[in-house]
Symmetry: C2
Subunit: 233 residues, 2 copies
């Protein structure tokens, strides 16, 4: 019985990795759809989010069934509860990728992103995808060092986000209000996506060490001054 | 023992109501701080969010202890797991109220919201606060009808959000890019805050009926056409 139980626990972990893989791919494809104004790809991303939602429902149902049937305590209990939270992070990340794709669809055949911001948005999309790939790797390997590394990668996202704001606030901005609104929301979507990837990794740290990731590296991360945008405030 | 258990379960419910009360108050005060450019009030809201975070940590620790010690099944298990989710919704709502307050602080002594949008933002703030007050009432009363009502109130938030976008996209917009960015983010914060209040209410419906709220009113809510803003897309 105990073996079937750990198999079920492993399979919940597999489900989380699958979710991370799907949403990582989704944010990458949504970014491409937006930068290329590729309607078909955008619609493909929008539809694919249903699979993520289904995985989450399935995973939650199995986690709750496991709690009821096996009544785990201590570490095992912590794993199941933390899995529920990770699945919520991943489901939300999928929504954010879908938001990016919906923006691409809304502006089609125009491009939501002006060409002078193309590189920054591409970087944000790639970084978001990379963060999620690392989060998946952290779930698999339970590598605490890799998990802590994600927070530093997230600082990079903050920098990109500020670059975006600097462009927006520049007096020479010539793309009008609609594009400013689009770019503001896009920045927010990528930033939140990255936050969720970091959150997944932090939860693994908590599982492995019993400590919250913030406490493990209290001194290693300098506070960056807010230079632009209410986000950073 | 069984009585102490239900007392603990009740006290978790009390903690959720307290969190909802705090974040409802926070979004109301943050809105006032922003519309009046009241720095002191803004800082007060920003600091007060710590109390919400503490309540969540406390509540989560107690929920997990309850799972470990009492190993509830069926309905009781569902209540504990759902409480964990509600506390996450409420904690996030607190963050969003804090974002509004931080924007007020960032723009002080200027006002982030131009006077022709004052009324719309005030309405969004008041509606957000009302939605959260209703969510708290739903937690206390487990009133399914009231819970379903929240979704209709949320339609009102969507309409306000669209009004905001219509202003932004209007050719006569004369407040510049920075204000457009601020207003875009504000709209997003209020909309997400409302989503979390609705989510709390929906989770109560699920607890009471065993059915997801969407299924209970599949026909009662007409789909509103996206008229403005990527949000609604």
């Amino acid at each position: 019985m105990r073996d079937a139980y750990h198999e079920e626990l492993d399979s919940i972990g597999d489900g989380l990795v699958e979710m991370a893989r799907l949403v990582g791919s989704a944010i990458g494809r949504a970014t491409t759809a937006m930068l290329d104004s590729d309607l078909k790809l955008a619609e493909n991303v929008i539809e694919a989010d249903q699979k993520v939602d289904e995985l989450q429902h399935d995973l939650e149902a199995r986690a709750i069934a496991l709690l009821a049937r096996q009544q785990p305590v201590a570490t095992d209990l912590r794993i199941v509860v933390t899995s529920l939270r990770m699945s919520a992070d991943l489901e939300r990340s999928g929504d954010l990728a879908q938001h990016v794709a919906k923006l691409a669809r809304l502006r089609y055949p125009d491009r939501a992103v002006p060409s002078d911001l193309h590189a920054t948005i591409l970087e944000m999309g790639q970084l978001a995808q990379r963060l999620m790939a690392k989060a998946a790797e952290v779930i698999i390997t339970k590598d605490v060092d890799l998990a802590l590394q994600l927070e530093q990668d997230d600082d990079e996202m903050d920098l990109l986000h500020r670059t975006l704001f600097r462009h927006l606030m520049d007096d020479r901005w010539k793309h009008g209000i609609e594009t400013a609104v689009d770019v503001t929301l896009l920045g927010r979507y990528y930033e939140r996506f990255a936050d969720h990837a970091v959150s997944v990794a932090k939860r693994v740290v908590y599982l492995v060490t019993g400590e919250h990731a913030d406490e493990l590296q209290a001194d290693s991360q300098p506070e960056i001054q807010a230079v632009a945008g209410p986000e950073s405030a």
